[in-house]
Symmetry: D2
Subunit: 352 residues, 4 copies
């Protein structure tokens, strides 16, 4: 198979560098272009400040930044763009890319709530990918969810069959979720910050959309009651979330545990390079998951950081309580979008 | 007024050192004895490792540790003991002290669920202090609540009149709550630990008892549904808690805010040395309270750390959501017990 | 005595807020004006983000920011300005203030190496204050040293009589030394950064000047060999420094210890409000000083944070080794300049 | 080649788990036995608390702890033991193991200063390995250096040819160097601790021995003057050290840089599985090395964490200044001993 030429937009930041890492020797995609701000155009990728353990992959060090110009990218044969752009830049550039025939897989929030753009977490709503056919452009835009939403909906996925009525969550979010430079060290050292701008409404809206139903050409959001506190703590990677779920009916601990333990990737994504074989890792240990130890779960190797760890399962009548942990840079950002692109390719939506 | 002779039991630890600090020039109590393990007997207090900013007060440095022997304490005229003993030692020693006529104000968990021992948070349940008359000993035992429970019930106090039905909480607890040496640095640096041994059942039981009703000689616990996640984060002092409250009836944001803003210490404790004038500090700022900035609130000076900070108030029909922060070493430990002793004195339960 | 009207320039930052705190009820100075950027002009001081435990003093909350205009300040009767301006603003504004008759006590680095401007650490070089008479302006500029230099020279002060030949230091500097927002949390969490821009040459130059000799109208810097590594660690307040000193001659441990233990403030500053009675606190404990416990030393109360803690004293022939810790926001910044102004007043260089 | 049966003594701790990780599929050694305290005997290795990212390798989870009995180990054919025992246990057990014919490669400090035991850092003193022939036991003991010493001597190695006269160092040591549970979180959060028990004399003695000369049957230590401050900071892995070196003669920056950049593993260890091709990684970036980014350097894959990163090179006449960073758990502990064993095997000192 001929690889599809792809670009990373916003390649200098924390998420951008994760896109780069995930695209090394990718079996489907070949990284041929990188963009960041126009000020970078002409510089080599190797000059970028390392923001991820391991940094920019050596094999990409010599790549030269292109200008922020989608016409140019399209002319160079770029067919797929992975976007780690800040929202205010993504607004304009992602739309233009789609107009030029580029298929954008975006971590930006700009188009997540657009009616024709899916927020794709393929284990849950792979069917929503069809929505892109409603977009009236040669290319299209697919988004991954906000990093907090992702960990939450992944945890809910095996529980959805029991009938969810209400969700109350409180998050313990890592600083890397704010990008770079992000938080001032003076603000977060020895501290907890009980507010993250715009985050709580995002979780509520995005969750309802992701878990909603595609009927014809529109997504009908769920009617779950959702209450989310989004709170920053002093960790580097990994969003842990305390989750309280009220169901339609009583369940037993055994039922829920079985649903979590036995959960496997749906066949529609099975075998995709970045799809973890077991997207949910269930912890029996009473004090797990923990960010220090559990943010790099996922097999095969390419899917490290794509599995979500769940623990502290408690079931009481119609209440299910648990703790979920996801890698906000991989599953909740770059990895999510790469998986989305792999699925789009399998479904015939991309071509070289 | 002649001051009452008092002792601090377990004077070497984090909470013990806070007791010492609070007893410097206390208008009612005179510190005349200190105990820790028997191995300390005969040593000077000044030899103790500093575990609190400011350390052991200079005026107490020359005090000599007594043996762990309540008969000896009683013989020296000690009438009140502040206990920061570990539970396994408190089990035996606090009971013996009460038998020797000493009134014990304890931070230990040993007797909190004893039917004749109140868990006293005087803003809420000062009436429960009468329960000590049921104890068949010359002295008695009064406990303060677990440090997490304290912050939670203080936040609920102004909201109780609206009728509470259900509480769902997730805590962000500081490492000092585990005492010294407590957590290994290797476990908590850059990490979140989603489990604290025994803590969640304590919160549930203690809260129901504290907010319960004293009818005759027994406390009828509340029938609130309580779900608490107790989670450790990398802060030093201050337990922050995300709280979701379901009420019996709809309320407005204005009603709840008014109840919080206007809340004052009840007259029964008004003017006590360690009673804050405003036990609840309401925050308008969207990103407060924060442990770094808000754990030392409370006027007058002697009551610093006794006020609880509340923020992020949201009201939606019958749901009230907020974040509460309390000083786990002062309000949730040493300060709570000192206030309890002051109240007991005012109510005529103590005499020199 | 009539108080002298003063202003704080750059009142919003970490050092600026410390100036405010130190000026509450100051016996000599009355805060009548505050400036920050022009964008702040007209806003109340109470709107500023709290960056210091305790925040902006309540009594100043209603003060309104003035425009950044020294003519206006002079017209309002401001005679003294405490400057926490960033260097690029200080360059211009401090010079203009001096031209308008304002005496500037500055934490900025702009004029430290100016031949007519003293870097004043009064315990060491109070005589250098006379240098301001060489400045050809109605007002003048006096600077405090860089925060790292300050802790270092204070530690050397009692040792200078033994004859210093060479100094080799390595610092453990707190993040607050970089101001706000300063370091990205992503850069410093769980990390050490072995470089601080411009800091090492500053230490070398400033130390040589501070410890130099005023002969006539010029300072002759010391000829000590100075090697300084300036390194950032994950602490909030307090610069700790490992110091290796080579002397002209052999000394004994007892001699050096005595010099440190018995060191007192020189009479020229004795009794000034912000002068600590003992500027050097000598630690016998093998593992002190530590930032967590020792950054708020100094009596009287107003001088808290002005004393420097020294420990780990080792003497071997002509080598003296020790660890020094100073509060980079008080002794090494705001407190240093306030003390300088108090001295200037005592010496008749200021008048209302 | 038949693999040599080996044991890990003290397999539960931080260093022990690194030994396990390094022995997975090792080409020379086959892990057949594990010991910890006798209380573990009979339990499975998989029950051990994870203390290293990645934890106990899955392939070893079913291994059962043996009793702490070297006779039993010898009887099972164990020929090599990797020791991560605490010093007080190592004292007795390592000697007994050598008496039973087992070759011990130890991270414990017990025998480092024994005249017949080499402290082996093979890049520097591979010749010292011959010293084991003086040990009058069927097996022998070889130690790796203290974790701080290791990083220091590795940095000095390329500079030794210029003639070293004096070394002054100050370290920034990670908490994992203290093992588990090691430091209390309350002691190190937001803090620097300027003292590590016994560490400074160790650095001085061990460095002199490692860099000393084997003449006949004894090591003549170097006569360098060595001054080391060993200081703990809030990092998890990686000891960074500020190093000031005085040479016998003047050198140029270019000379020293070349020595560092071109340094390669000596041929005697070249190609050993755990030997890094380039043991010294020279950093041009002004703010590197940093623990967060540079503790896992080293090629090939098996040697990750074995290379030492050096930066901040400054040369001034006879003074060389730099910063060195080494992985205290790999290069400074488990990896060092595994490399030592590989060298012993190559030199014919081990046999299956």
């Amino acid at each position: 198979m001929q690889k599809i030429k792809c670009a990373v937009l916003g390649a200098t930041g924390v998420v951008g560098q994760h896109f780069l890492r995930l695209l090394v020797d990718h079996p489907y995609f070949e990284l041929t272009s990188i963009c960041a701000s126009d000020a970078r155009a002409g510089l080599a990728l190797g000059t970028v400040k390392e923001q991820v353990e391991g940094g920019v992959p050596k094999s990409f060090h010599q790549m030269i930044f292109d200008p922020m110009d989608v016409t140019g990218l399209a002319a160079k044969g770029v067919r797929v763009a992975f976007s780690a752009l800040p929202a205010e830049v993504a607004d304009k550039m992602e739309k233009e890319a789609a107009q030029k025939g580029i298929c954008v897989f975006s971590n930006a929030g700009s188009y997540r709530m657009d009616e024709q753009v899916p927020i794709l977490v393929p284990e849950i709503n792979h069917a929503h990918l069809q929505l892109v056919k409603q977009q009236k452009t040669p290319g299209f835009i697919v988004t991954n969810a906000n990093c907090t939403t992702t960990g939450l909906v992944m945890a809910l996925l095996p529980i959805m069959p029991f009938g969810i009525r209400r969700i109350i969550s409180a998050s313990y979010q890592a600083i890397s979720g704010a990008g770079y430079p992000g938080l001032s060290a003076l603000d977060i050292l020895g501290n907890v910050i009980p507010y993250i701008k715009n985050e709580e409404p995002k979780v509520r809206r995005e969750m309802a959309k992701i878990c909603g139903t595609l009927t014809g050409v529109a997504i009908q959001p769920t009617d779950w009651e959702i209450f989310a506190h989004c709170i920053r703590v002093q960790t580097t990677i990994g969003h842990l979330i305390s989750v309280h779920i009220e169901l339609e009916r009583s369940v037993t601990h055994a039922e829920v545990k079985q649903a979590l333990v036995e959960f496997k990737s749906p066949s529609v994504i099975a075998g995709l390079p970045t799809a973890p074989i077991r997207p949910i890792i269930f912890n029996e240990e009473i004090d797990r998951p923990q960010p220090r130890y559990d943010v790099l779960l996922g097999d095969p190797e390419r899917a490290r950081g794509m599995a979500v760890a769940i623990g502290r399962l408690e079931v009481e009548d119609r209440v299910v309580r648990l703790v979920t942990l996801s890698n906000n840079l991989v599953r909740g950002a770059a990895g999510g979008s790469v998986l989305n692109a792999e699925l789009a390719l399998r479904q015939g939506l991309l071509s070289a």
